[in-house]
């Protein structure tokens, strides 16, 4: 029963997204929604590790950029079809995730967080020094002329990102609602106890980091075609790292729909701010919302809603 409703929503979202591309030809909406969806994928991916197992990834931008720069390299070297390159980019990021998972064997807590940050910075230095990838100066990526069944390329990118977002959400939901999710939650709460209760902690962490890596790489893979100009500063942007932490924190990290809600709320607010107020205030908004939520509503919007519901239930009963 519950499965049905979720999958119905998935189909509804995808059909609505497709209809959107056919009915609306104002490209701006696709740009804005694309950015929100990209944030959503990053947030959901981050949460698969951070929210479910409690390992904080500070280096989200590194995974994102790995996806993006894999695309740059593949496009330049072979010019393969878009879906093939996207899959390769996701795979490579997934492998990086797998490696990061092995790091978690030795490094817990803050050490792990710093190691991920360090990995991102090392990757950035490598890109900065790689002439093939454009180095620090950046490189151009020309969008292909044909855009499949869509009117223009941004609609194609939008639909592709929507698909990735839906898949990421479905995977995240599957992970959290299944036996795996219970194991991941046990790892988050107490890794030693989890292991002694028969939870194969390393295996679960590897699944978690790899899944995270794949989706972050997928989110980044379309980026070069979206901006058409990639440089390390924007691909490794700190805002990407902050957003992928802030969105789950604002939405609620404990459940799969927390980061989805957080990403939609923060993403829409940010996109609105970009075109109405100023972008620097944008950062301030993230900062203030992040600090506000974690000090006053540590379980995020989801937690606020549950508290509210519990309170109302209490009133009704009392």
């Amino acid at each position: 029963m519950k499965l049905d409703k979720f999958w119905i929503s998935v189909v509804v979202v995808l059909v609505a997204g497709f209809a959107f591309t056919k009915l609306v030809d104002n490209e701006f909406y696709f740009f804005a929604t694309y950015v929100v969806l990209q944030g959503l994928v990053m947030a959901v991916a981050w949460n698969i590790l951070g929210g479910f197992t409690g390992y904080v990834n500070f280096g989200s931008a590194g995974f994102f950029a790995l996806g993006a720069y894999t695309m740059v390299a593949l496009n330049k070297a072979f010019g393969l079809p878009l879906p093939v390159m996207v899959l390769i980019a996701g795979t490579l990021s997934g492998l990086l995730g797998l490696g990061v998972g092995y790091i978690s064997l030795r490094l817990k807590g803050v050490y792990f967080a710093i190691a991920t940050l360090a990995i991102a910075l090392v990757l950035e230095t490598v890109v900065n020094n790689s002439h093939y990838l454009g180095g620090a100066a950046g490189t151009y990526v020309i969008q292909p002329k044909e855009s499949f069944i869509f009117d223009n390329y941004i609609e194609l990118l939008f639909m592709f990102m929507l698909l990735i977002a839906v898949v990421a959400t479905a995977v995240s939901r599957y992970l959290s609602a299944s036996r795996l999710g219970m194991g991941l939650a046990a790892v988050r709460d107490d890794e030693v106890a989890a292991e002694c209760m028969g939870v194969p902690t390393l295996k679960l962490k590897l699944i978690s980091t790899t899944t995270m890596g794949i989706f972050m790489g997928l989110a980044g893979s379309l980026f070069p075609f979206f901006v058409t100009f990639v440089d390390p500063v924007s691909a490794f942007s700190l805002l990407i790292a902050v957003n992928s932490i802030a969105m789950p924190m604002i939405g609620g990290t404990a459940v799969w729909y927390g980061p989805v809600i957080g990403a939609l709320v923060l993403g829409v607010v940010q996109e609105t701010a970009t075109v109405t107020i100023s972008s620097e205030l944008n950062l301030l908004i993230v900062g203030v919302m992040l600090v506000g939520f974690i000090t006053m509503a540590p379980r995020g919007i989801v937690g606020l809603y549950e508290d509210y519901k519990a309170k109302r239930k209490g009133q009704n009963n009392g």
Partner: protein, 241 residues
């Protein structure tokens, strides 16, 4: 005579230059209630860490159910039926009490439980420790004694053949000690071999069929409670010379 459920042979564990356990040998029979005592730092916790797999030993072997598990990871040992509680309770703090029990049922006891009615089975165990009406309470906000009970309940939910109880009574009041002891006796009746580490001698003496004494990483006594109490080495270890 039946094969012992647990057999530790010449187990030595070093941390750097420090020898925490020195050629320890021990056996445990099916359904036996064993007390493990010794002064602070004598190696009790290290020994059960080596048995449960939280630590691995480079020298000596650990056999469980006739199988060599020396190199086996902790979660595999849990699958085979070794379960433990922790001295400092480690509940899964974001989960409710009953969810804490479902974790070992879904993992350690995966091959042994009937998956059709996990909740009912968990409720059975909760009833045993007196949590029947509190199944959906959050586990992080329990009192000390309730945490200890949850530790034992969770260890039991793994459907173990061997249960290790690590100082489940430390810091509890007299009546609370009795409550925990009741639970442990009830567990023993469910055909589980139990190793109990405890400082509270009254509890150990009452509970154990046999007692092993460790001192400075060495086994210094192994016998019935009365034998152990009258052993001069034990007296020396506890009281000093």
């Amino acid at each position: 005579m039946a094969e012992p459920v647990l057999k530790v042979t010449d187990l030595t564990k070093r941390f750097g230059g420090f020898v925490a356990l020195d050629t320890v040998n021990m056996e445990l029979n099916d359904k036996e209630r064993l007390g493990l005592i010794g002064p602070n730092g004598s190696g009790k916790t290290t020994l059960i860490n080596c048995i449960s797999g939280a630590l691995t030993n480079e020298e000596g072997t650990v056999n469980f159910n006739g199988e060599d598990i020396t190199q086996m990871k902790a979660h595999k040992r849990a699958h085979m039926g070794i379960s433990r509680s922790f001295q400092i309770p480690k509940p899964f703090g974001t989960m409710s009490i009953i969810e804490n029990l479902l974790v070992p049922m879904e993992y350690a006891a995966w091959d042994r439980v009937d998956h059709r009615n996990l909740r009912e089975q968990a409720m059975d165990i909760l009833e045993l420790v007196g949590f029947k009406d509190r199944a959906d309470e959050n586990s992080a906000s329990l009192t000390q004694v309730d945490m200890r009970k949850l530790e034992l309940a969770r260890a039991l939910a793994a459907k173990p053949k061997l249960l290790v109880s690590d100082e489940a009574m430390a810091g509890l009041s007299g009546s609370e000690v009795d409550e925990i002891l009741e639970i442990l006796f009830a567990l023993a009746e469910r055909s589980v071999a139990i190793i109990m580490i405890e400082h509270i001698m009254r509890a150990v003496m009452r509970f154990s069929e046999r007692i092993i004494v460790l001192d400075a990483g060495k086994k210094i006594a192994d016998g019935s409670p009365d034998e152990v109490v009258s052993n001069p080495d034990v007296e020396k270890a506890y009281l000093g010379e």
